[in-house]
Amino acid sequence: MSLLQSTQFRPDRSANATRRALLRAWPEFQNPVAWLVALILVIMPLIANGFFLIEIFATTLILGVIALSLMFLAGYGGMVSLMQLTIAGFAGYMVAVFGVSGNANISLGWPWWLATPMALALATLFGTLGGALAVRTEGIYTIMITLAIGAAFYYFTNQNWAIFNGHTGINTVATPHFLGVDWRTDIAFYYVTLGVAAICYFAVQYVSRAPFGLALQGVRDNSRRMAALGFNPNAHRIAAYAFAAFIAALGGVLQVWNYRQISPGSVSVGACIDVLIIAVVGGITRPIGPFIGALIFVLLRTFALDVLIKFGLDGNRFRLLIGLGFLAIVFWSSDGVIGLWERWRRRNTSSTQRSGGGRHG
């Protein structure tokens, strides 16, 4: 039977099969909404002015990339790591230390094409080492250890003046100029962040379906069984940390280029927790979640002040709003905004199906 079928379909089989395989690997290509979002993001500079482009969208994409690394670890590896922002901050510091900045006594003054790969490599190493430490424990212990690593790094940057310049941090970090373009001008920088975010998004999407990602999800679901099948759970976990650290480091490099300075405030415990909030609010089941979470977070952070004042409330209570929103999400939807949206859509489709069925019946 199957032989018969395969001989029947032989003429256009190869073309069809590659197309189907492609669609299976990248289901986004079939989704018109995804194309629409991509189009809007690409033509964004025509729509939005500099403020929106950088303060809202580029910031969202950067935070989204950092939160994406957490989503990868938490969603596919089952490891909630609070040190992703620390890795990003470490990468940012390394860019400032190896590259050119206003603090000439600290910065080594390397050109950007040398400093950036160095920063990425060191931050990935840092994240991998932290991961190797964190995988010795499981579940909630991981949260505690990564939080302790993040907090230790924050206090260390505060105390260390030789490399991290204490609590003043490193200012006026140089941004790349090449091909005759200043890549920190609004539109160019927006496209840089968009490009990096897209690469990270598709990389996570790809890895999650590659054999390594599948094995990682197997380790998340039942590590003893995976070990019995001959996989090395801890090696997979550490590799996941390394991959996530690289993504977080990319986000960190973009962040230091965006703000042109870095200080312990950028790697504070609160900021580490913000990344967790972004990922959880967006939803840690899919790579798009962190970006949605980041957009919500950035919009709230930017406009909560004005909105609260408009309603006659104290504008400084922005963090209260964030905290309550986070609590509400954790309480009612374990997979964030994406979960809410999917539940809503499912209810809608089931109700239309039911009504449709009634009509036909």
Binding site: V80, M144, I145, I149, A152, Q159, L276, I277, G323, L327
Partner: protein, 336 residues
């Protein structure tokens, strides 16, 4: 103890040598060569005593944390907020009534009540979902931090030390011998010693309550296996509420202590949350003696570090944690 020596003779030897060296450093009069190398003995003794008393404070915070974790598997990341809340309450009461002792009692009750409300209204609904509970505590810590910033502002507060505890006391520890042959003894603030003794008393009381009473037996059984305990007919929810109230109340007391020792300001909540995390990671999750050991180690490391290697004090603490995780991931005194 004897079993430990039997099973790990090398480690036991290292520990004994370390303790002996420390004891010699504390009690002997330092030869001039040593003073030239690492500074005056008075500085060292002060750092050691500061470290031990700071360890007492860390123990108060961390013991509640570890108790709650041990029984309910709930990593209460809002524990630092409870600490700071207790401190603010204590400050308010002590300035209002002028009584230092009363501020402890009120802080304990108020923060324990917050703990009861949290357990009944929040954590009971998501029992067994460790990760979700932890997320909720993170959200709560953000909300609490902002509420406290709203009410108390960003100022520094210090709880007034009562007059009968102000001033130094002479300890029978020689720091040096004057050229005239007259011994010089160490002067140390009385309040820190009293607070340290109080935390030792609280620790011993907790140990006795856990190991010698019926309630303690129930709690220990719950740490080992909640489900079987519930199946034997113990009203486990009541035990949970009690333990949460006790743990939170201890954090409240610690807040008043911290407010007297140091000061209260936004950000202290994270600092003490981190301290209790490191303490229980080093000592062993869910173990009260582990919390005590971890607290003393971390307190000593922090103070000695800040005296002898000031820029890297925090790294010493962190290195201890890394070392413990690498050699004994479950913590020094954990059973598993």
């Amino acid at each position: 103890m004897a079993r430990f020596i039997e099973r790990h003779p090398a480690w036991a030897l290292i520990v004994i040598i370390a303790v002996a060296v420390l004891a010699w450093l504390v009690f002997a009069i330092w030869p001039p060569g040593l003073e030239a190398a690492i500074g005056r003995k008075r500085v060292f003794l002060n750092a050691v005593l500061n470290g031990i008393t700071l360890g007492g404070l860390y123990f108060l915070v961390a013991s509640g944390f570890t108790l709650i974790f041990g029984l309910m598997r709930n990593v209460n990341l809002a524990h630092g907020s409870l600490y700071l809340f207790g401190g603010y309450i204590g400050y308010a009461i002590s300035t209002w009534t002028g009584s230092w002792i009363l501020s402890f009692i009120v802080a304990f009750i108020a923060v324990a009540l917050v703990g009861v409300i949290l357990q009944l209204a929040v954590f009971r609904r998501m029992e067994g979902q460790d990760l979700r509970q932890t997320m909720v505590t993170i959200g709560l810590s953000i909300v609490f931090a902002d509420l406290m910033l709203w009410v108390f502002g960003g100022d520094f507060y210090q709880v007034q030390t009562p007059s009968w505890l102000i001033g130094p006391v002479q300890l029978p520890l020689l720091t040096a011998i004057k050229s005239s042959g007259e011994p010089v003894y160490l002067q140390y603030p009385l309040v820190r010693l009293v607070i340290f003794l109080a935390s030792v008393v609280i620790g011993i009381a907790m140990w006795l309550a856990l190991n010698r009473t019926r309630i303690g037996m129930i709690v220990r059984a719950g740490v080992d296996d909640r489900d079987i305990l519930a199946a034997t007919g113990v009203r486990i929810q009541l035990v949970f509420v009690l333990v949460f109230a006790l743990g939170a109340g201890l954090a409240g007391i610690a807040g008043v202590v911290g407010g007297t020792f140091q000061s209260l300001s936004p950000g202290e909540d994270t600092r003490f949350l981190l301290a209790s995390l490191v303490v229980v990671i080093v000592g062993g999750m869910g173990s009260i003696p582990g919390a005590a050991l971890g607290a003393v180690i971390i307190g000593l490391a922090e103070q000695l570090g800040s005296v002898y290697i000031p820029t890297y004090a925090i790294v010493v603490t962190f290195l201890i944690m890394v070392l413990v995780l690498a050699l004994r991931p479950q913590g020094l005194l954990a059973r598993r």
